[in-house]
Amino acid sequence: MNKIFHYGIIFFIIVGLIFNKQEAMLKALLQTPFDVFELCKTLILSICLWNGLLKIIQASNMMNHLNFLFKPLLRWIYGRCIQDEQIYQALSSNLIANLLGLGTLATMSGLQAISKLKEKNYPLQIKILVVINTAGFSILPTTMMTIRQNYHSQNILAFYPYSLFIGFSITIIGIVIIKVIEHV
């Protein structure tokens, strides 16, 4: 990844110089800290809030009532690592948050899960977790619904069946590819 960042930046600067984009690139460079501030402000403060609430949800053991629903599914995806209670809690929260389209909660629980998986040494499950989150399958894409509503769409949910199919398919394909590569 170092190489992608390193050579990518060299390549983009050269391309920018060739296409005479110096002004735009310098502007983008100077804009970076402000973009980072905006991103961190939203991300970290939301993470703090959701982590606080997540602690309460986990302490209440509420998730255990939904075990019958998520345990078989998570066992198929992640294997035996879900026998660890902390890992199971984080992975199930991540799955629920992704499905409900709660981006920050998904990030928060995903970060918790990945640190636990690293601690307990589950490299395969780390890859599966990351790929599932890059696919970002959601049954409630609230952001898109809000945008289409703001544009006064006649059919707000017209995109929904297609994105549901695509999101579901690429998630399954991603999991299967990893399992095939790792011969699980």
């Binding site: 170092n2 992608i4 990518g8 930046i9 983009f12 600067i13 391309v15 920018g16 296409f19 984009k21 735009a24 502007k27 983008a28 460079l29 970076t32 800290p33 961190c40 970290i44 993470i47 703090c48 982590n51 606080g52 309460i56 949800i57 302490a59 209440s60 509420m62 409900l100 709660l102 995903g110 970060l111 990945i114 640190s115 890859k127 990351v130 790929v131 989150n133 890059t134 696919a135 970002g136 959601s138 409630l140 894409p141 898109m144 945008i147 289409r148 544009y151 006064h152 769409s153 006649q154 995109f159 297609y162 994105s163 199919f165 695509i166 999101g167 398919s169 690429i170 991603g174 590569i181």
Partner: protein, 167 residues
Amino acid sequence: MSNLILLIILWSFLECAYKKIPIYEEFITGVKEGMRYLMILFPSIMLLTLWVNLFLSSGFISLIGTFFIRFFSIPLDLLLMAFTRPISSQTSLIILKRIYDHYGIDHLYSLMGSILQTGSDTTLYVVSLYYGSIHLKKYSYTLWLGFFLDFLSFVFMLCFYYLGMIS
């Protein structure tokens, strides 16, 4: 949706009250733990944003867009969206809004843009954030697999379009 989330929170608060779990301490501990992520995530977010900003401003994206457009009978903006979606969600959203303004929200191309935006997540951001949080620099094949899945979601959308399944 709002009801569901509020009900989950209410349910867990009630269960904590029943089990006499100290909610205040749990919440404060959670917030403090959340703050720790600032120091862990900040450096990788800074580098990622710099990379993305230079990538988008270099003109490279328009170059590959204009090169590939000859192979597809779709607007250039949709193709640019497909390229930017795995890298920057904000940028692809700006392009999507441009498509909405140009064609109208209920046009076929606007619908295709909406599908593209929701079909997958920002791969580069997710991969560098997750691996950055555990200080792992080697992403193995996950980044490329993520990009492949984004490509696949674009292919699915094109198939729907060429097969006349989107109207």
